[in-house]
C-alpha cells in the first residue's frame, strides 16, 4: 500500500507545507482583499442607489404637491379674475345706464323747455291777434271802440287761466 511507505513522507510533508503556505499567501494577500472590496463596493452601490431612489421619491412627491398647489392657486386666481371682471362689467353697465338715463332726462327736460318756450311764444304771438279779434268782435257786437288796454288785459287773464 503506497500510503504506508515512509520514504515518501518527508517529500510529501515538505511539498504540502510549501504549496499550502503559497496558497495561504495568495488567498489572504490577493484574493480575500479583492473579493472583500468588490462585495463591499457592490453593497455600497446598492445602498447608494436605494438612498437615491428614496430621495427621488420624496422629491417627486414634493413636486406633485407643488404642482397641486400651483393648480389650486391658478384656479382660485381665475375665479377671482372672473368675479372681478363680472363686477367690473356690472359696474360699467350701471354707469352707462345711469349716464344714458341722465342724458335722456336732460334731453327730456330740454325738449320740455323748448316745448314750453314754443308754447309761450305761440301764446305771446297769439295775444295781440286775440286782442284784436276780441276788440273787433266787441266793436261789431257792442259798437264803438273798446279800450285797447282793457281788452288786452282781459285776453291775458283768460289765456293765463287756460294756461294755468
Amino acid at each position: 500500500m503506497p500510503q504506508l511507505e515512509p520514504w515518501s513522507y518527508m517529500s510529501q510533508i515538505f511539498w504540502l507545507v510549501i504549496t499550502f503556505i503559497t496558497l495561504y499567501f495568495v488567498l489572504s494577500k490577493v484574493v480575500v482583499p479583492r473579493i472583500t472590496s468588490v462585495l463591499e463596493a457592490r453593497q455600497e452601490k446598492i445602498e447608494d442607489d436605494l438612498g437615491r431612489a428614496e430621495r427621488l421619491r420624496v422629491e417627486a412627491e414634493q413636486v406633485l404637491e407643488e404642482y397641486n398647489k400651483a393648480l389650486d392657486d391658478a384656479r382660485s386666481e381665475a375665479q377671482g379674475l372672473l368675479k372681478q371682471s363680472a363686477e367690473e362689467m356690472a359696474a360699467h353697465a350701471a354707469n352707462r345706464n345711469e349716464a344714458v338715463g341722465a342724458d335722456l332726462a336732460a334731453r327730456n327736460r330740454e325738449a320740455e323747455g323748448r316745448i314750453a318756450e314754443a308754447r309761450r311764444q305761440a301764446l305771446d304771438n297769439i295775444k295781440p291777434a286775440a286782442a284784436e279779434v276780441a276788440a273787433a268782435a266787441l266793436a261789431k257786437l257792442v259798437g264803438g271802440t273798446p279800450d285797447q288796454a282793457k281788452v288786452a288785459q282781459a285776453v291775458d287773464s283768460v289765456s293765463a287761466e287756460s294756461q294755468g
Binding site: 503506497p2 504506508l4 507545507v17 495568495v26 488567498l27 490577493v30
Partner: protein, 249 residues
C-alpha cells in the same frame, strides 16, 4: 501490501496511489523529491489561485459567470464561518478558505483519469489535521489560559460523574486529528479503489460489462459529490474546533 503493488501488476487498484519521483531531490539526507504528489499539489494551488484571481478580474459591479463562481466560493466559506463561529470567526477566514480550496482542488484533480489524488495519502491529511489540532489547542490556551482545561468537564454533569466523563472528553479531544485525517483519507482511498475495481470488470465481462460501466458512471457522479463534501466536512470541523477553542462549550 507488497503483493498488491507488485504481484498484482498493472491491474492493482492501489497502483494509482503510488508515489513516483519526478525530480529527485536530496537535502541533508532527507528525500524531498518532487513527486507526482507534489506536482498535483502545485497544480491544485495554481488552478485555485488562477480560478480566484482571474475570476475576480477587475471586480465588475455586476459579476459574470466566472466572477460569480469565485464570489460564491468566498461567500460559501464566509457563511460557514459566520454560522459556526460567529463574528469572531472573520480572523480565521483565510486559513479555512485555504484549507477548503486546497482539499477541494486535491479531491477534484483526483477525479481526472490517470491523475493523482494527494488527499488519498494519510500523511498529507494527517499533517493538515494535526496542524489544525495543534492550532486550535494553542488558540484555546491563548484565549482562556488554564481555564481552557474546563473544556474537558461537560457542563451540568454531577461531580461524581467527572472521573468517568473527563477521560472520555480527553480521549475524544485527542482523537480529533485522527478522525479528521482518516475521514478524508479513507473516503478518497475507498472511492478511488472502488472505481478502479469495478472498472476492471468492464473489459473482463465483455458485453455484460455494460453493467459495471453504468455503475462506474454512477459512482463517478457520487465521487464528485464526495470530493466536495469531504472538503466541506474538513472545513466545517475546523470551524467547530475553532469555535470550541473560542467559546469553550
Amino acid at each position: 501490501m507488497a503483493d498488491a503493488e507488485h504481484g498484482g501488476g498493472v491491474h492493482s487498484p492501489l497502483e494509482q496511489f503510488e508515489i513516483k519521483r519526478i525530480v529527485p531531490l536530496d537535502i541533508g539526507g532527507l528525500d524531498l523529491s518532487f513527486t507526482n504528489s507534489s506536482l498535483f499539489m502545485v497544480l491544485g494551488v495554481a488552478i485555485a489561485s488562477a480560478f480566484l484571481i482571474l475570476g475576480i478580474g477587475r471586480g465588475a459591479l455586476v459579476p459574470g459567470r466566472w466572477q460569480s463562481m469565485a464570489e460564491l466560493s468566498y461567500e460559501f466559506i464566509a457563511n460557514l464561518i459566520r454560522e459556526t463561529i460567529g463574528p469572531e470567526g472573520r480572523a480565521y477566514f483565510p486559513i479555512i478558505f485555504t484549507l477548503f480550496m486546497f482539499i477541494f482542488m486535491g479531491n477534484m484533480l483526483g477525479m481526472i483519469p490517470y491523475s493523482f489524488t494527494f488527499t488519498s495519502h494519510i500523511i498529507v491529511t494527517f499533517v493538515m489535521a494535526f496542524v489544525v489540532f495543534v492550532g486550535v489547542t494553542i488558540l484555546g490556551f491563548v484565549k482562556h489560559g488554564a481555564h481552557f482545561f474546563s473544556f474537558f468537564v461537560p457542563p451540568g454533569a454531577p461531580i461524581w460523574m467527572w472521573p468517568l466523563l473527563i477521560p472520555i472528553e480527553i480521549i475524544s479531544y485527542f482523537s480529533r486529528p485522527v478522525s479528521l485525517s482518516v475521514r478524508l483519507f479513507a473516503n478518497m482511498l475507498a472511492g478511488h479503489t472502488l472505481l478502479k475495481v469495478i472498472a476492471s470488470f468492464i473489459a473482463v465481462l465483455g458485453v455484460a460489462g455494460i453493467l459495471p460501466f453504468a455503475l462506474v458512471v454512477a459512482l463517478t457522479g457520487l465521487e464528485f459529490l464526495i470530493a466536495f463534501l469531504q472538503a466541506y466536512v474538513f472545513a466545517i470541523l475546523t470551524c467547530l474546533y475553532i469555535n470550541d477553542s473560542i467559546h469553550l462549550h
